[in-house]
Amino acid sequence: MTEQPSDIRFEHLLRELAPQVLGAIIRRFHDFAAAEDAVQEALLAATLQWPREGQPHNPRGWLIHVASRRMMDYLRSEEARQRREAEAAFPSGCQAPEAGIENETDQEDTLTLFFMCCHPSLTPSSAIALTLRAVGGLTTAEIAHAFLIPEATMAQRISRAKASIKASGMPFRLPTSQEQAERLRAVLHVLYLIFNEGYTSSTGPHLQRLELSREAIRLTRSVQALLPEDVEVAGLLALMLLTDARRAARTGPGGELIPLTKQDRTLWDRAEITEGIALITAALAKGSIGAYQLQAAIAAVHDEAARAEDIDWPQILALYELLKRMSGNPMVALNHAIAAAMVHGPSKGLELLRALDSDARLAGHHRLDAVRAHLLEMAGDYQAAIKHYRIAASRTTSTPERNYLITQAARLSESAPSSNRGVDQAL
């Protein structure tokens, strides 16, 4: 058998089942907000009961049964009008559903829940919280802890998100085929935000934080299983895996950031890299290219190089050129300038940066100064590099980045007068 403690094994199963059970309860009772609460209660009941009494023969049916009972209790405590509605919806009383296994309805329900929780009318923070709870099966306390805010605040955020879904009268069904592409973009964006939120320094006081990146990968994996033909879903999953693979190498013992080209590549997770490369290779072969696929392809080129000197910068530059044309995102333009500097020398990169000085979206943004500092250092203009590292440090809102940037400035000001190292320190 397994060596995992039983409660961890149960937890994985419960979280896999959570959206299926929720889908079934919504179909039966047509009330997303109340169904979501009922399912959370059923999940909690399972975590208390299963370790003691053993896993039920049909875990999914058990959860639907318990959640349905909770729903009935809830509806009974409501007004008489609502009671009548409940009896119409569930006339035979509370019975265990058939011991069905995963079927098409379950899969469709899970996907519908993703679309619902990531609806573009919700603010990003609401969509993130609701997705983690309703589809991810996490408790409000776990989500609150992950975002370092009080549980009561997170509970309020979730209930507001549910209220706004209720108010919109959104039906519980998949978006129409015309809407589907745009709505899927919103889902992928929320998953991307969850991944990024978790992509923090792995040391320090927040070691105990829930692994949001892992959770984002798990959820994206489930979307990919439901939409295996969608190349952007595959691209996003590949991007997450290829980025997460470097987790152990991206911070030093004191929690300090280590830039990509300086990382100890033997610490990279080979299994994630292999899976990510296979996914992106298969997606690119299908011919329809999207922004996540391009970012994943760039991550793959980095991850494929055995040493920093082996990085295929011309290929990365070509990919950034495609991405720049597609996205118009100024952050892409910054990365493009770095790639251009690596291929054609720092003056080319600095020239590209000058064109970005007038971009209002980058005005006062630390990344522009940080990249300029790197390229100035590559060019050997250390005094200007120090100045821009310090400006960047004053503008960033990330503690690890600020520490990194002031360290770079300090290193240069201590070594600059006698040093001629440039290119190898650049990234």
């Binding site: 603010t123 605040t153 997170m154 955020r157 992509y199 950031l257 990330s398 980045e401």
Partner: protein, 130 residues
């Protein structure tokens, strides 16, 4: 993104406040209560604490052997932190909006105090790949 909203004031300002009429004090308390309630309901309130008065303020430095050496009772003109709010909001503009609402809190006769509120972003621990 999280912001801390800092309410600063002088000892003289605190003394004036303590001499407000009962009605004005009640109006002000009711205002703060309703603001906090709104921030709780909007899912934005992370923390809010009032601080002890300027009379209790001490500045501490390490003396010999690291023993604390305290300094206190400060000049009238010195600014003290009176209290703070930490909010988790979608944009800096929203943080400024909340700060402005704090600033128009009612003073004597219901006239807004127009207190300056210092708004500072709280650093995050996430970082982009370099």
């Amino acid at each position: 993104m999280k912001y801390i909203l800092l309410m600063n004031g002088t000892k003289a300002g605190v003394d004036t406040y303590r001499a407000w009429s009962e009605k004005d004090i009640h109006t002000h308390f009711a205002f703060l209560k309703s603001l906090n309630q709104d921030l709780r309901e909007s899912g934005e309130l992370v923390a809010n604490e009032p601080l002890g008065g300027p009379e209790q303020a001490r500045v501490v430095r390490a003396g010999k052997n690291g023993a604390p050496v305290t300094d206190g009772v400060f000049p009238e003109a010195k600014e003290f932190l009176l209290g703070y709010w930490i909010v988790d909001v979608e944009s800096p503009e929203r943080a400024y909006e909340i700060a402005a609402r704090l600033s128009v809190g009612p003073g004597p006769g219901g006239v807004p105090t127009n207190m300056p509120i210092e708004v500072r972003q709280i650093m995050s621990r996430k970082s982009d790949d370099l």
